[in-house]
């Protein structure tokens, strides 16, 4: 969209890796780096638990109250945990120069960023998806709603990470960007939050939750196909 690296010097190394190999390589590398910085990764999971511990203490420990607020509260906690972890997505790579190396690769940048975002979701999103049903039990959510909750998070949190990757790419070069990042991507994430919470709500009420779940899936597909281009354009701005 903005700068296309098309000078002869940059095109010289021919693209020899297959795109899938490249994707796997970036994914593996980012997972390695993510595991080494374990405290960073676990912070968002711990934050998720902390937020969920706050609501019963602030509102009421009564089972019927907790059951009623559970879908919304768990989804809000998942959104906040995602927002909190996003500033790590490209920051370290920009600081140590990895990002500039990636920019010079003769491969589509959006594809590389998609792999990075997937790695980020595996490290920060999957723990949330796994922990959510366990924590939902403490909110007295019935088993029927637990499946829908987990499934909605499984469909929704990757969309959150993808939307967040645009914001993370835009603010990667800025100091103290995490509040700004939350502020610019928060409104974009609202549809996911509303649909995810509503799906769980419907399951809780014993109604059919497939409508919102389909929409969550549609949003995920849309995000996968559109976001990498925007994130690539954004990261080029930040790397300038």
């Amino acid at each position: 969209m903005s700068v296309t690296p098309s000078s002869p010097a940059q095109q010289a190394p021919a693209a020899t890796l297959g795109l899938m190999t490249l994707f796997a390589a970036v994914l593996k590398r980012d997972l390695h780096v993510g595991m080494r910085r374990w405290t960073d990764a676990s912070n968002s999971a711990l934050f998720f638990i902390l937020v969920l511990a706050l609501f019963p203490l602030a509102l009421s420990p009564k089972a019927e109250v907790l059951r009623m607020i559970a879908p919304g509260v768990i989804w809000i906690a998942a959104l906040l945990a995602t927002l909190l972890s996003l500033h790590l997505l490209f920051r370290a790579d920009l600081e140590d120069g990895t990002l500039e190396q990636l920019l010079m690769l003769p491969y589509p940048l959006g594809w590389i960023l998609l792999a990075k975002t997937l790695a980020h979701w595996i490290i920060t999103g999957i723990p949330v998806v796994v922990m959510a049903p366990i924590l939902a039990v403490t909110y007295h959510l019935p088993a029927s709603a637990l499946t829908v909750l987990t499934f909605s998070l499984l469909l929704g949190t990757p969309t959150l990470s993808l939307l967040g990757s645009i914001g993370a790419a835009l603010t990667a070069g800025l100091r103290s960007a995490s509040v700004l990042l939350a502020f610019i991507v928060g409104p974009l994430m609202l549809p996911v939050l509303m649909l995810g919470a509503r799906a769980t709500d419907l399951a809780l009420a014993g109604e059919d939750p497939t409508g919102p779940l389909y929409l969550l899936g549609a949003l995920l597909m849309l995000a996968v196909s559109v976001v990498p281009f925007m994130a690539a354009a954004a990261i080029r701005v930040s790397a300038d």
């Binding site: 969209m1 903005s2 645009i166 914001g167 835009l170 603010t171 070069g173 800025l174 960007a177 700004l180 502020f183 610019i184 928060g186 409104p187 974009l188 609202l190 549809p191 509303m194 649909l195 509503r198 419907l202 409508g211 919102p212 929409l215 949003l219 559109v226 925007m230 354009a233 954004a234 701005v237 930040s238 300038d240």
Partner: protein, 251 residues
Amino acid sequence: MWTWFFRLASPPHFYALAGTLSNWLLVPALILVGVGVWGGLVLAPPDYQQGDAFRIIYVHVPSAYLSMMIYVTMALAGAIGLIWRIKLAHAVAASCAPIGASFTFAALVTGAVWGKPMWGTYWEWDPRLTSELILLFLYFGYMGLRGAFENLNQADRASAILAIAGVVNVPIIHFSVIWWASLHQGPTLSKLEAPSISWDMLWPLLTMILAFTLFFLGVLAMRVRGEVLEREVQSRWAQDVLRGATAASIR
């Protein structure tokens, strides 16, 4: 044939043009506001259900319409700047944001003032109100992102990408809020649905929409002028302007 178009993108030419343009837009805007206000507050009959309270639509509807129209304008200008690298387009996008945020705020406030006597509450989590509020946050995010960059070129491009991401998202947000509300409970949906409106009430509304649009364009021309001058402050023509040269001499 296209020279006029290319000249439009030249800062000194645009600076001079926008100066004339803003007057030619703002004067008719003020006249039309006068006509519209008189038509809306004096000539139009009171509504059979809402009495005189309905008259706030003459401010509310144009504001709400502009709040969305300006966001689209901003994203379009940003995209033009991003794709064809026209600095002037970025200046237009940057100037749109505060005006758009003001109209969004005006739409929310007038809506709340109208909501109190009509719905009995200042705020209702109605789909339109909710998406308007989210739109306000999108404007704030845009301005926040712009402000965070020290490098103007980066600020322009980054905020343009955000505006485009926002404009893709605005319909999604709007429809998901509607679905969310319809899954939640029904009746609020119909509260705001426009009933068919009589011509006596309609023509002042259309006049006001036109007046507000002209006002927006006039203010936009003024703001872009300031923005261009600030960006080009190092250049010769801008220095000339600042020293008080006449508009004629800088062409």
